[in-house]
């Protein structure tokens, strides 16, 4: 004989539904707060570049080896050193080079989130920006 009741307690399923709703509201609130944080960071980066931040756009990493060397440099940085991150990766707030490359075509760019998904960068970006870690 199983220990489970034959008739479900409607109150129990209601309280489960309440718990699910509450969790969903909490998640929504966390997402909103993260979104707000990303927007503020995007604004900060935009201002830094608008104020003339000089970054290292050259040399462009010709092969995987040079690309890896830049990533290694980025990994040495303290997590909150945004300035050095932008300088080393060569951020600019406009398309770059003869082919007018942009974040928009870069494989690390998440279009809807407006986000650079390269783990060593992980920052919000605008689609018309560029950096020398651009890869297609």
């Amino acid at each position: 004989m199983s220990g489970y009741p034959l008739v479900r307690n409607p109150l129990a399923s209601e309280s489960k539904r309440d718990a699910r709703d509450m969790e969903s509201r909490r998640k929504e609130s966390r997402d909103m707060s993260a979104k707000g944080k990303d927007e503020r960071l995007l604004q900060t980066i935009a201002e830094m570049m608008a104020n003339g931040l000089q970054t290292q756009t050259e040399p462009f990493p010709e092969t995987e080896k040079e690309f890896g060397a830049i990533l290694a440099e980025l990994r040495q940085l303290p997590p909150d050193d945004l300035n050095s991150k932008l300088v080393i990766s060569g951020f600019v707030d406009h398309p770059y080079g003869p082919e007018q490359q942009r974040c928009l075509e870069c494989m690390y760019y998440l279009v809807h989130r407006k986000w650079c998904d390269l783990p060593e960068l992980s920052v919000p970006v605008e689609p018309h920006w560029w950096c020398r870690l651009w890869r297609i």
Partner: protein, 320 residues
Amino acid sequence: MANLLWLQGGACSGNTMSFLNAEEPSACDLVTDFGINVLWHPSLGMELGENLQRMMRGLVSGEIPLDIFVFEGTVVNAPNGTGEWNRFAGRPMKEWVRELANVAAFTVAVGDCATWGGIPATAPNPSESVGLQFLKRGHGGFLGKDYKSKAGLPVINIPGCPAHPDWITQIVVAVATGRGGDLSLDDFGRPKTFFTSFTQTGCTRNMHFAYKVSATEYGQRKGCLFYDLGCRGPMTHSPCNRILWNRQSSKTRAGMPCMGCTEPEFPFYDLAPGTVFKTQTVMGVPKDMPTGVDKTGYVKLTAAAKAASPRWAEEDIFVV
């Protein structure tokens, strides 16, 4: 009843392990359901010493018919072309291989080492290893370009590191049940039924490939592994995502890049540091494009795909 002999040259036994794990059909099914008589196999054979040598001599002389000769591992020629580094049953293995291949109705190479040399034949190749009919992409294998078994077929190549167990047993069954003549082979002697489609065919990440969303870490459920993690699925011929491994999954489904092990060039870039599991690029563009795609088309496609990319492509859709 078809007599099958399985020998092993310069090998790690990976293909034997794979074969013994076959399910459809299993290694036991070959004997019980398909009437295959396994004369000898390195992990199953009972005969030793003089008994084994007597059987081998009987096969070479034709006294015992050899219907299917399966070879795993490279043909070792070192030192100095003598083959003495790999002796078997009283003489260099390569001498047995030559004589057995001459009397076999069908010769089947299993795994990369036997097909085109695989890892042992990678430079500097100290064991002077070659595949049965190929050395990498060229016809530089031990039996020569013009070799044909008694049934009139070149070596049937079942590559892979290791080959999938069911590729092995299904080909063996086809041959043993008189359907060997129906096998259609590609330019590298691979059965077309397995090696015409790509590893990417059936990959669960195809939507992410199409919308150019990249995985950036192993095991990530979101994103394609081609763009950053060196996956060779779009340019490797294999059914790894059609005939699943352990009937469950594949490397790419599990979030690990395909290494292209069914292609003659494997291991790519001679396993140089930084070339495995990392997409090789030149000025930001992949060095090896998906088969049949050129750089201009690729760049155009990327721009269009990114522009059309839906929101869900950026999220983990495989919710547990």
